[in-house]
């Protein structure tokens, strides 16, 4: 699959995903921004296994930026732009607090996992791949590891309230 083909599929998926989260116009703007960035700044990235995760990362940043812009423009509380402070290039305290809270929720959720899930999660954090985890856990089939990991992920997501955000 060529880079253009990948970007074509990515545009379609990104637009659909963004439309499910924001309005149609904003989704199109988001998609355009993501693709423009991938095309201009990351033109050298052509491999599928690099381009797709990069697109996810750019998409997330763009969506967070759009949310911040929407908040700054007062589209939620209709406050005057003049009353808002100037933009800070680093993460604002709200973002930092949000990330801290997410981390806390993640710790709390991980601590409630079972032994197997904790082991599995630990080995993944240590960078072990699924085939390596299969050997560590003494399983003959890697599908067993996939299934265990899927269940543990769903359990972790449930313990975090149904969203990673």
């Amino acid at each position: 699959m060529s880079r253009d083909d990948i970007l074509t599929c990515l545009r379609e998926r990104i637009l659909a995903f963004a439309t499910s989260r924001v309005s149609r116009d904003q989704a199109e703007d988001l998609t355009q921004d993501v693709l423009a960035l991938l095309h201009e700044k990351y033109a050298r990235v052509t491999d599928l296994t690099e381009l797709v995760p990069l697109a996810f990362q750019v998409l997330r940043f763009k969506m967070l930026d759009a949310k911040r812009k929407t908040f700054r423009r007062g589209e939620y509380n209709q406050e005057s732009v003049d009353a808002l402070p100037l933009a800070d290039p680093t993460d604002d305290p709200a973002t930092q607090l949000d990330q801290k809270q997410r981390v806390d929720r993640l710790f709390s959720a991980v601590s409630q996992l079972g032994d197997r899930c904790r082991e599995l999660f630990k080995w993944k954090l240590e960078g072990k791949t699924f085939p390596e985890i299969q050997k560590l856990m003494g399983q003959t089939s890697i599908n067993t590891i996939y299934t265990w990991d899927l269940r543990c992920r769903k359990q972790l997501l449930s313990l975090m309230g149904g969203s990673w955000e």
Binding site: I6, F56, G114, D115, T129, L150, S163
Partner: protein
């Protein structure tokens, strides 16, 4: 791995531990599957968190701290689906056992009173028993009963219980004891049980007008024994004033000797009377019209000690019995059994109802002082000399209103060609000797009244029975 199972690789995407092959397959599938793409986009938030080395290090430290507390282990065990299933199943089992135990206990509680009721039901007649003073004043000289020695109340109660037990056993016996055995008094087992002797139908029990239950029924026959619902305790001259009511319980055996009990074959008198009362709601039938009561044999058979239809329970060895009553019609078109005195004051038609306890052949004659005997059933112009009367089937005949002082003579026989049917009724026909007769009226505990008279021939070998039915009853 199938394409539809590629979402299992999402966990590796966040931790960035997918192999190149897994990444290629996952991303290729994500480009083709919007659902998988959305999941990966959502997973990006976790991936961003785990990409932070500080967060990853803290998570690893937290995961390395093994939780060894038993509570956490139990909580973890409960969180597993299998643990939940086990816990749910165990809880359901416990609930089922508890409920089953409770239901079983409730059933036992319900069963106990019913058994007690059955055991104490025969003692219902003593509810009309006179007081202890009446017991003391009642004559007992006619009875060959030895005086009961004085016993302490506890001993007397124990003796009464033992006596009741023996009575119950005797009632359950297939055949009752002979008259001689019951009246001999020589048996030591009977000496301390005067109640049993009192209620043996061979004993002439002194009459008591204070029972209020049974109207006396005189009989022209000197051999006829009149059995009334007189408390047997009247034969207990030495009963203490403070004697508990349980001492009167031997009266429970009284129904054995009653004509009604003999008629129905030792049935529970209360139940029998209830059955009789239930049937009195039937509308009046026309003259000489039989009143088929198909439910009767079944009811009788149910109450008899022996199982099976009444025709089998009452065979030729059963004493021949006749039941008669007077019926009047009430304004609501329902018939009611009344006493002869009430029937006499009734302005409407009066029916005489006759029933036999086994298959017999019946003749009814009407005698009047001014006229020769007339045959009521079968009628004069009927070629049949007798009318077949099935067991448990009542036949009603309207009484002529011209004369208010008549006598009906009922003759029944097991044989249709009996000699008594071949000849006309003599003017002074006497009632069959050696019969036991009982007139039953209702008490306050019965919602509907039964006013009937039972006449049973004590000699079971006799095939015929003649009963004089005076109207009004003297």
């Amino acid at each position: 791995m199938r394409d539809q199972d590629l979402d299992k690789l999402l966990g590796g995407f966040a931790a960035d531990t997918l192999t190149p092959e897994e990444q290629a397959r996952l991303y290729s599938a994500a480009l083709a599957d919007q659902h998988l793409f959305d999941a990966l986009a959502d997973e990006q938030a976790l991936k961003e968190l785990l990409a932070d080395p500080a967060v990853r290090r803290r998570l690893l430290q937290a995961l390395n701290q093994t939780n060894t507390s038993g509570t956490a282990t139990w909580l973890d065990w409960f969180r597993r689906p299998s643990g939940l299933a086990w816990a749910g199943g165990l809880a359901a089992t416990v609930v089922a056992v508890v409920l089953g135990t409770k239901i079983y206990e409730d059933s036992l509680k319900h069963a106990a009173p019913s058994v007690a009721t059955e055991e104490t039901r025969p003692s219902a007649p003593p509810a009309q028993a006179p007081s202890s003073s009446q017991q003391k004043s009642s004559p007992s000289s006619d009875l060959p009963i030895e005086a009961t020695p004085f016993e302490a109340p506890e001993e007397r109660a124990a003796t009464s219980e033992a006596s009741l037990d023996r009575v119950m056993k005797r009632e359950q016996a297939p055949a009752p004891a002979s008259r001689e055995q019951r009246t001999s008094g020589s048996s030591p087992s009977l000496k301390n049980r005067p109640g049993e002797q009192d209620h043996s139908f061979s004993q002439p029990v002194p009459l008591s007008d204070e029972s209020g239950m049974v109207a006396p029924h005189t009989s022209p026959s000197p051999h006829k024994k009149e059995i009334r619902e007189t408390p047997a305790s009247s034969a207990l001259p030495h009963a203490p004033l403070s004697a508990p009511s349980r001492l009167i319980e031997p009266a429970a055996i009284a129904p054995i000797a009653k004509a009604r009990a003999l008629f129905y074959g030792y049935t529970d008198p209360v139940t029998t009377s209830d059955m009789q009362e239930a049937k009195q709601e039937q509308p009046l039938t026309s003259m000489a019209q039989s009143a088929p009561q198909a439910e009767r044999p079944e009811n009788m058979g149910r109450m008899l000690p022996q199982q099976g239809p009444v025709t089998e329970a009452i065979d030729s060895t059963t004493p021949l019995g006749l039941r008669y009553s007077f019926l009047i019609q009430e304004p609501d078109d329902r018939s009611r059994e009344v006493s002869p005195s009430i029937a006499l004051s009734h302005r409407g038609p009066i029916l005489l109802t006759v029933e036999s306890n086994q298959e017999t052949y019946l003749q009814l004659w009407l005698t009047d002082a001014s006229q020769p005997p007339q045959r009521l059933l079968p009628q004069k112009d009927d070629a049949q000399p007798s009318l077949k009367l099935s067991a448990g089937r009542r036949i009603s005949v309207s009484l002529p209103l011209a004369s208010r002082s008549i006598t009906i003579i009922a003759r029944i026989s097991r044989n249709s060609v009996a000699r008594i049917f071949e000849q006309d009724l003599p003017p002074m026909t006497r009632q069959t000797p050696d019969t036991v007769q009982e007139s039953v009226t209702a008490g306050a505990d019965r919602p509907r009244q039964e006013n009937a008279t039972y006449v049973v021939n004590q000699d079971a070998s006799m095939d015929q029975l003649t009963v004089r039915i005076p109207f009004p009853s003297p």
